[in-house]
């Protein structure tokens, strides 16, 4: 869950869209791992793929993805506040 949040946070910080290679560097994951996590993110509709006119692939965070990061932030704050 921490990795998924890191990935979504990286996309959010890049203006809510990022190239897959940039995401790989930012999240410090191997290509194989990134692929498997991305499949999960897309499957859960937290991220969607977009192809630009000049044929570049971008990963865009969805509203559900933004909601996830917010919930995760609240959860982490709660956990840290109560030492859980």
């Amino acid at each position: 869950m921490e990795i998924i949040n890191d990935m979504l946070h990286a996309i959010q910080q890049k203006g809510e869209r990022i190239k897959p290679t940039h995401l790989m560097y930012k999240s410090n994951l191997s290509h194989k791992l990134l692929k498997s996590y991305l499949e999960e993110l897309i499957d859960k509709e937290l991220v969607k793929e977009e192809i630009t006119k000049d044929n570049y692939k971008y990963l865009v965070i969805t509203d559900k993805g933004l909601e996830f990061t917010q919930k995760f932030r609240q959860m982490r704050e709660f956990t840290e506040s109560f030492g859980l």
Binding site: Q70, M75, F78, E80, S81, F82, G83, L84
Partner: protein, 231 residues
């Protein structure tokens, strides 16, 4: 030494309003913790939530017993040749006894729950199930004895709250954030309130001071809750 009312007359009923605030705050924390449990499926959040639910239920019983319960009964009396019946309202002590017993027992179980979760978290060890059974038994015995010597309950609750405050303070030292500071401050104030409840035996006005401290502690927890939500 049976004592059911600890509040001065002018404060009677106002303490129930304070308790309602405590119930709302305890339920909000329980709800947040349960939401995290649904999200992560980690059992500690479920038990943390359950502990706060028990504290909320304990306060419900305190409020119910604060409102002295009455029951109606028909009494027949004979004076000389004259027999007359009348409807009388009698104080029902059984509800008071049961209400206070449940309040004290559930409160202690809730506090023991919070303590065990925090202690397990700080030591990263498993909680022995036999310890839980033993502590539950002691909580019951304490609640029973507190029926005759009410300060036993407050001493036990203060002891547990002292340990809990210490663990929150340690957490605050490790990860010092605004909200972790507020949580340890809130529990320190609630701990002080329990010490003040012990002094009620000398002067009932201490009950008011203790209730105000307790309310202040729960209000700080409420502020913490909203600060967490704002993130």
């Amino acid at each position: 030494m049976l004592q059911f009312r600890f509040s001065p007359d002018w404060f009677y009923g106002i303490d129930s309003i304070f308790e309602i605030v405590s119930i709302i705050v305890a339920l909000l924390i329980a709800f947040s913790s349960y939401k995290i449990y649904k999200f992560t499926k980690e059992a500690k959040y479920k038990y943390f939530s359950l502990s706060f639910v028990l504290i909320a239920i304990a306060y419900v019983f305190k409020i119910l017993t604060n409102f002295t319960l009455f029951r109606q009964s028909i009494i027949e009396k004979t004076i000389g040749d004259l027999t007359y019946t009348f409807l009388a309202i009698q104080k029902s002590d059984i509800f008071l006894i049961l209400g206070y017993l449940l309040f004290r027992f559930l409160m202690l179980i809730g506090l023991i729950g919070i303590y065990l979760i925090l202690d397990k978290q700080s030591k990263q060890t498993e909680v022995n199930k036999r310890i839980i059974v033993l502590l539950t038994f002691f909580a019951f015995i304490t609640a029973m004895i507190s029926h005759y010597y009410f300060i036993i309950f407050h001493i036990t609750a203060a002891l547990l709250l002292g340990f809990i405050t210490y663990l929150f303070y340690n957490n605050c030292k490790k990860k010092c954030t605004q909200t972790s500071r507020l949580v340890s401050t809130a529990f320190l104030i609630i701990f002080i309130s329990q010490l003040l409840f012990i002094l009620v035996q000398f002067n009932t006005e201490f009950y008011v001071v203790a209730e105000v401290f307790q309310l202040l502690g729960f209000i700080i927890l409420l502020i913490t809750y909203f600060l967490v939500l704002r993130k």
